[in-house]
Every structure is written in structure tokens, then in C-alpha cells.
Amino acid sequence: MSGVSLQKVNKIYGSGADSVHAVQDLDLEVSDGEFVALLGPSGCGKTSTLRMIVGLESITSGQILFGDRDISHLDPQDRNVAMAFETYALYPNFTVADNLSFPLEVLGLPAELQRKKTDEIAELLRITDILQAYPPELSGGQQQRVSLGRALIREPSVFILDEVMSHLDAHLKFSMLFDLKRLHRELRRTMIYVTHDQVEALALADRVAVMSNARMQQVGDRNTLYNRPANVFVADFIGEPPTNFFRAEVAYHDHDTIISVMDSDLTLQPGTAAATSLRESQRKEVIAGIRPQNLGFAETAHFLTADVEISEYLGERSMLTVVNGTTRFQAIAPPDLRVNPGTSVRLYYEPLNVMLFDPETETLIA
């Protein structure tokens, strides 16, 4: 058992003009027994990162430690990791049962014990009925579960799971997420779980690491990512529907700091802490962000006025798209709300929920 620590890890595929810098100066600390989800858009370097941790891909520069052991250049066989592959990588000439028990066979466990563990894991993943089938006969979701099972059957120091639920229907995914969480609680092993589904990531993980463009953007728990995103990317990526962003100018009055959104007559009131730090830096421009969930009809002291453009009924909620000047943004409304397009509405917010970003670096100011 051990934690995982990545220090300034880089991965460059190929060389010369058509080289790809897939992972750039990546730092990540996963403590022993922790469940960390690696979240990011397609192509941002998640799989590359995992493959370096497992040892299938060489590290261009940097270091990877398991506990305090430097394993950067060890073979996968010597790292004691288990991995479930994005592409399943099942052994096509083995039955499902043999696929599951192969890691145990390698360890030299007695056949009886192998069978017992195989049955347990098959039960957990609901694949008992296909144990005698061969991988080419299985559906994508079934293959995915076999692949997950083959990773979970061992008890390595680190589990690496790459998009192991992307092919499951919502219902099955939900119950398997629950089981995986429970399994993690029982085993207390370090797990790194890659996904591009933020619901999955936030539901499962102790902490979520958000990657984009080969770089680590932020690592934190749900509240940190949601309320104090490190930059515009994280604010945009975490949360559904995405955050509303406004380019805005800042005006400093005697004891008031007012943020006026460009191309509209909207003004926003920043929270007190944000206002103080703005005042100190005296900056003139910011990117302001506010989540659609934080704009509503419950009256507070502060509101934005805008005309309704579209009102979509989405079952458990309605989504309003409103416009002021040429600035469009969105708000979540109760499902029974009926407003006609063109109606002017007041959308209330708390100053605390206004996020401010530097327009140049796009990082959080306050």
C-alpha cells in the first residue's frame, strides 16, 4: 500500500516537428488509500498520465514515487499496480472467468482460491452469467466490466482505472459507482480513476484533479472546485450548465466597488473579500463569473435585469436564457415557471457567488 506522487512529470510523444507534448509539468499528490478522480476533456493527457504511472509509457522528464520509492523507470511487472484499460484489452483466447483469474494465476494462487475470488468479483460486477463466454461475444459494457474486474481482483498497492464506466447505461453505472465506492472503503487502497464525466468524478472521489491541455488545472474536493475554481477553465468545466462569464470593467467609488459588464447595462456587486482585493490591486478589467444555479427568483438585495429569450423545460428544472444588450446568460428556474419570451425578469444573486478572474491569465482573483 502506498500513495502516489507525480513530480514535474512530462510526456512528449515523438520528436521534432510532429512531437506531441501530451503531459506538461504535471504535479499530483495522492495519499495512501485515497480515491482521486482525474477529470478532463478528451485528449488532455489523462490516459498518458495513467500509462506513465503504470509504467507502460516512459517518462520524458520528472519523477513518479509510490510511497517514498522512486518507480519512474521500473517495469510494470515490478510496480504492483492494477489497471483497467480504456480499450478493455481483454485476452481474446480466454473465457471471461480465465480473464478475471489470470492475475491470480500469475501470482500462483491455488486454483480453488482463484475460483472463489473470480466468483466474488463476477457477482460484484454482475457478470456471473457470462463467465464461460469469450470476449468477442460480449457487448461493450460487458467487456468493460470484465476489464474492471480483472483490475479489481488483485490487491495491488495502486489501482488505475481508465474510463471504466463509459459504456454502461445510467442505471447500471449508478449502482456500480456505488459498489466501487464501497469496495474502495473496504480495501482502503489508493485508486486513480479517469473519467470525463464530472458527475462520476464528483460522486466517487475524495478529491478531483482537473486536467486540460496537458496541464493540471486544479486538485480539490467538490466544494473547492465548485466554489473556488482556480481558473476560468475549471469554472467552466465543473458544473452543469456551465458558468456564465462576463467581460467587465471595475469602477471604484468611495466605499463601493462596482463591476459593470461590457456591452450591457448590467452591474454586479462583488463579495466583500473580493472587493477588498480588487481595491488593493486597483485593476480596471476582470472576467466575472456566476453560475446559473446562483441566479434565481428568491429575492435578495442584488439582482440582474434581463429579457427572457428562451425558456426550456427540462423536467426537474427550467433553464432560462436571458439577454441584456448583447450579453446572453443563463439561469436555473423552478420547473413550473412559465415566462413568455420578451418578458423582463429580475434574477437575484448573492455577491459571495460572484467569481472574479484575471482577464490575462484567467486565474481566480478572489
Partner: protein, 323 residues
């Protein structure tokens, strides 16, 4: 958007309609007959007719004179009885067994080992290509060259092979490569040199096309290289290796050229294979009826062996859910 509509005949432009009217789609009556008839006729002429002809003469006492004069008579299965009862044929079956085991089979085994060694231990693509090309060159030589080349190499008194073995101290006396009991081994050596690259190429290309992800999974699962070879690579290459076997086996039953060039079946018929006897009796001694009986018997033996192989392969495929 307008609903999708299937185009009907009336939507075709005018020129098309005209064209269709002037050229009916239904072709002349003789066209399909000719299209099917020509290949059937060809098949009849080059496969069916000779086979039937051969079977017919295997039941008759045809010799060269009888063949041209039309004077041959029905003698039932006595050609078959003669062949099966002759010591020459029985010996040749033993020779065939020796050739199949130490020629064909061993070639496939050595080819497989070489192919997998090349793939696992040589990582540079350039070196792999060079090695493959060098190994394939013997396969491109005509049998006459191969036969003559190996006769030279194996010449007892001053042939290169004996010299090399002497110099290495592996033997103290010349090996008499063309004596009875050894001459068939000489043929097997030359044939293996000639053909080992065929199974090698087949197995190598099979190995190249195996999915690399499976091997990554095995590495992460901690399997040793030997374990991976035994449990994953070889089972996945089973069909490919079976195909290499079939190719070398079918060739074994047609194998005449090197026997003829290197030893002419000798000395004292000690390196004769059944096909060589058929060739000798039919083409050189004009015992057409007897040669035909040989050919039919060889055909039956090879058909049985190949059928057993195909059955085995089908079983393998079904067990894996591919067929």
C-alpha cells in the same frame, strides 16, 4: 424539412429513360449460359477430366504402348494391390513419415521459433526487415538451383559442409551424405533450408497483427515473458501455425523436385517418397496404370490428413466463438 421520398422511375432524367428503353436490362439468353458455362468447361477440362481419366487407368493395365494403341484392359484393383503390397511403396511411406516429421513439421516448429524470436528480441524495424529478406531468399530460388547447390555443399570429399564440420571438430571423418540411410536426411536438410522461411513469414505476420494492448495488460498483470508466450501468444497463433502446417503438408505430398535432383531416390531406392515413385513409374517408365494407382493412393492419404487438420481447426475456432 420535407419528408424523405424514394425516387421513383418518373424522377429519372429523360436521357436516362431513353437509354433504358434502347438497352433492355435483360441480356440475351446465351450470356448467362456462357458466363457460367466457360468456367465450368475449364474446370471440367483441367481438373475433372484428368482425374476421371487417371482413376479409369488406375483400374487398367495401361502402359505406353497400350496408351497410344488403345490396347489396355480392365484389371480391377490389382494395380492398387500391387502398389500396397510392394515393399518399395511401404518403404516409401516410412520415408514420407520421416520427411513429414523431420522436414515439414520441424520446419514449422523452427520457423515459429525463429519468427517469435525475431519479433521479441529484435526491436529495430530495419534489422527485422533485413533478417526477413535474407531468410526469404532461399524460397525464391528454383528447386534445380537448390538441389545442385546442396549437392555441392554436401559433397563428401571436399564439400563445404563436411569441411566446416571437420574444422569445427564436430566430426572426425567425412559424412557420406549420399549413402543409403543418410541421403534422405540430406534432402530434408536442403528442403528445410529452402522452405523454413515460409512458416516463419506466416507466423511472423500473425504475431505482428496480434493486439498490443493485450500484451500491455499482461505486463501490468505481472506475467513473465515466458508465461505470456505460453498462455497468450501461442494460443492466439494456433490457427496461423495450423495454416503453416497445412501448407507444408500439402507441399510434402507433391515433393519430387529435390529428390529427383539430389539423389534420384537412391541409393537403392532409400530416399524415395511415394510421389517420386509415381513420377518414376509413370513419366519415366510409362507404367501409366500403376502410376495412376499411386497417385490415387497418395491423394487419399493426403486428403485424410488435411481433413483431420481442418476438423481440428474448426473445433478450435468454434471453441473460441469465431465460427
Amino acid at each position: 424539412m420535407a419528408p424523405m421520398r424514394r425516387e421513383s422511375d418518373t424522377d429519372h432524367p429523360e436521357w436516362f429513360q431513353k437509354k433504358r428503353k434502347s438497352r433492355p436490362l435483360i441480356v440475351a439468353r446465351w450470356v448467362p449460359i456462357a458466363l457460367v458455362g466457360l468456367p465450368v468447361a475449364t474446370l471440367l477440362a483441367i481438373v475433372i477430366y484428368p482425374t476421371v481419366w487417371m482413376f479409369y487407368h488406375s483400374l487398367r493395365d495401361t502402359n505406353i504402348q497400350g496408351l497410344f494403341m488403345g490396347t489396355h484392359s480392365h484389371i480391377g484393383f490389382s494395380n492398387y494391390a500391387d502398389v500396397l503390397g510392394s515393399e518399395r511403396f511401404q518403404d516409401s511411406l516410412l520415408h514420407l513419415a520421416q520427411y513429414l516429421t523431420f522436414g515439414a513439421c520441424l520446419q514449422v516448429i523452427i520457423g515459429t521459433v525463429l519468427a517469435l524470436t525475431l519479433y521479441e528480441f529484435v526491436k529495430s524495424n530495419a534489422i527485422r526487415t533485413v533478417v526477413l529478406i535474407m531468410l526469404v531468399i532461399p524460397m525464391m530460388l528454383p528447386p534445380s538451383i537448390v538441389g545442385v547447390l546442396w549437392r555441392f555443399l554436401l559433397t563428401p570429399s571436399n564439400g563445404a559442409v563436411n569441411q566446416a564440420l571437420l574444422n569445427l571438430g564436430l566430426i572426425e571423418q567425412h559424412i557420406e551424405w549420399f549413402n543409403a540411410g543418410i541421403s534422405l536426411w540430406s534432402i530434408i536438410i536442403a528442403d528445410s533450408w529452402n522452405w523454413v522461411a515460409l512458416p516463419l513469414l506466416i507466423v511472423y505476420s500473425g504475431r505482428v497483427s496480434l493486439p498490443p494492448a493485450v500484451y500491455e495488460a499482461a505486463r501490468v498483470d505481472g506475467a513473465s515473458q515466458w508465461k505470456v508466450m505460453r498462455r497468450i501468444t501461442l494460443p492466439m497463433l494456433k490457427e496461423v501455425i495450423a495454416i503453416a502446417f497445412i501448407l507444408r503438408f500439402t507441399d510434402a505430398f507433391k515433393f519430387v523436385d529435390l529428390v529427383y535432383i539430389m539423389t534420384s531416390g537412391g541409393p537403392a531406392q532409400s530416399s524415395e517418397l511415394p510421389t517420386y515413385i509415381a513420377f518414376q513409374r509413370g513419366i519415366r517408365e510409362f507404367a501409366v496404370g500403376e502410376a495412376a494407382a499411386y497417385a490415387i493412393i497418395i491423394f487419399i492419404i493426403s486428403a485424410v490428413i488435411i481433413t483431420l487438420f481442418l476438423k481440428y481447426m474448426k473445433g478450435v475456432m468454434r471453441a473460441r466463438g469465431f465460427a
